[in-house]
């Protein structure tokens, strides 16, 4: 309802994502990137943008409600925290799908090739679940420290870099690759690149399994951390203020 009430938000979501990832793609073009290289970079950037949306909407979204002074009212109603977070997750998924669709419209205008396949939807679904689980962890942190925006931005960038959003993680030093292996976005980007280039889901089977495994482990952990942070905020009476 909010997004319909303010159509400029939808227009912004249709334009801004490309403007954010565009400089990297144009820089690749400046260095004479071939179509496959551009495609790989585009895939990495799209999925990094998914991470960004999940972080801001699921993770940082609680801070927005706190800032507007409605979080306390929302949480004191006799309803569990689950529906609120689920709604945020669905919103993130829809917004990310929308921004991806609009980016795919922009890409050909700037000479970036686009290849659409049904198998990519499976990768996106697994990616959304894994990133949603990670964002719930971040939401717990937001409830504790309140102003975690800069931390969130820096973390998103760091995760993007460690996941190889603009290059292959195999080029990173070995110890850094160990860290990359702990991040779901690494598997998501690798899976999407494999599916997009080969056209087959079987090429990404191991990475998809890793994404599902990550979701299974991190979702309960994130939920525990969020509930602990929520209980702490209630105890300290800091739900409604900074």
């Amino acid at each position: 309802m909010y997004r319909i009430r303010y159509p400029a938000t939808l227009a912004n979501l249709g334009i801004s994502p490309f403007l954010i990832v565009g400089p990297y793609l144009m820089a690749a073009r400046m260095w004479g990137a071939d179509p496959e290289f551009q495609l790989k970079v585009a895939v990495g950037l799209i999925l990094w943008y998914w991470l960004s949306q999940f972080f801001w909407i699921v993770g940082f979204g609680l801070r927005d409600e706190m800032w507007e002074g409605v979080l306390e009212s929302l949480l004191v109603v006799p309803r569990p925290l689950c529906p609120l977070m689920l709604a945020k997750f669905l919103d993130s998924f829809l917004v990310s799908s929308y921004t991806t669709a609009t980016m795919l419209v922009w890409f050909p205008v700037f000479g970036v090739p686009v290849r659409l396949l049904p198998a990519q939807a499976v990768v996106l679904l697994c990616t959304g679940l894994a990133l949603g689980a990670l964002s719930v962890l971040y939401a717990g942190m937001v409830l504790v420290v309140k102003r975690a925006g800069a931390f969130g931005s820096a973390t998103q960038e760091a995760i993007g870099i460690l996941s190889g959003m603009t290059f292959s993680v195999s080029r990173l030093p070995r110890p850094v690759q160990v860290v990359s292996a702990l991040i779901p976005l690494t598997y998501a980007i690798r899976a999407m690149r494999a599916v997009t280039i080969t056209g087959s889901l079987s090429a990404a089977r191991a990475d998809l399994a890793a994404l599902v495994g990550f979701t299974v482990v991190v979702a309960p952990l994130g939920w525990y951390v969020l509930n602990a942070a929520y209980a702490r905020a209630r105890r300290q009476g800091t739900l409604g203020e900074f």
Binding site: W31, F151, S153, A158, I161, M165
Partner: protein, 272 residues
Amino acid sequence: MRAALTVFRYILLGDLRYRSEFLWSTLNPLMWILPAILMVHFGLGEGLQSGPGTPVNYVAFFLTGAIYWNYVEAVWSLCFYLQEAMEGGVLEALWATTVPRVALFGGWSLSKLFSVTLQSAAGLVLVVLAMVGAPGQALAPVTPVQAAQATLAALASIVASYGLAFLLVGLSLVYRDVESIISMVGNAAPFIGGMAFSVTLLPLPLQVISFLFPFTWGLDLFRGIVFGSPTILAPAGELTVLVALSVFYVAAGYLGFVYMEKTARRCGLVAH
């Protein structure tokens, strides 16, 4: 002046209150450009190649663009302080004080420029290291005239940002929820202005738009002087265009702000 310094102190105290937020924000400018640096670093020979149009020292090229943009953004993003005051419900009280608007804007932008200077320090050190550390890529000697041109280019870009800031503040007052428009302008400007690439690579209609932005000329001139990269026009011509655009932006932005502020007060929108 005292009012501007009071606002500056108030913002600084807020930053000190949330130190982790401030410390993390120091990383953001570098983190933003690092993917581009690593893309070229790992991509050369594997899908990317250097050519006559590519800068020899890509690390310094990207970092300079990022630092330049940080300063430009620091000024125009002062409308976010207004948005914060609006959402926090203190805007009407702030607007009703006898503090001149210019002092308020001065205090907001001063605090942001102060933060950006601290945040850019690491980037500047890296630029120098990138230039000194790469054999044969050290900074070319800059004459006093060139140094004056580079300084003027940077200052004119910052001044032009005030014009955009005035306009965005006015729009925020009248239309309240203009975060989307601000965000769109903020995201479009580094892209249109060629922060990480040459604007000559953009499709022709976007090139025309980019030439209407003072930042395009400022960054192109700055890079041309510091790195000796080819510029769109001769340096003197670029400087003239930049100064003319800066004057136009500030005048148009301020007049727009005065008009929209009057509209907001007349319609009783300041408190909403």
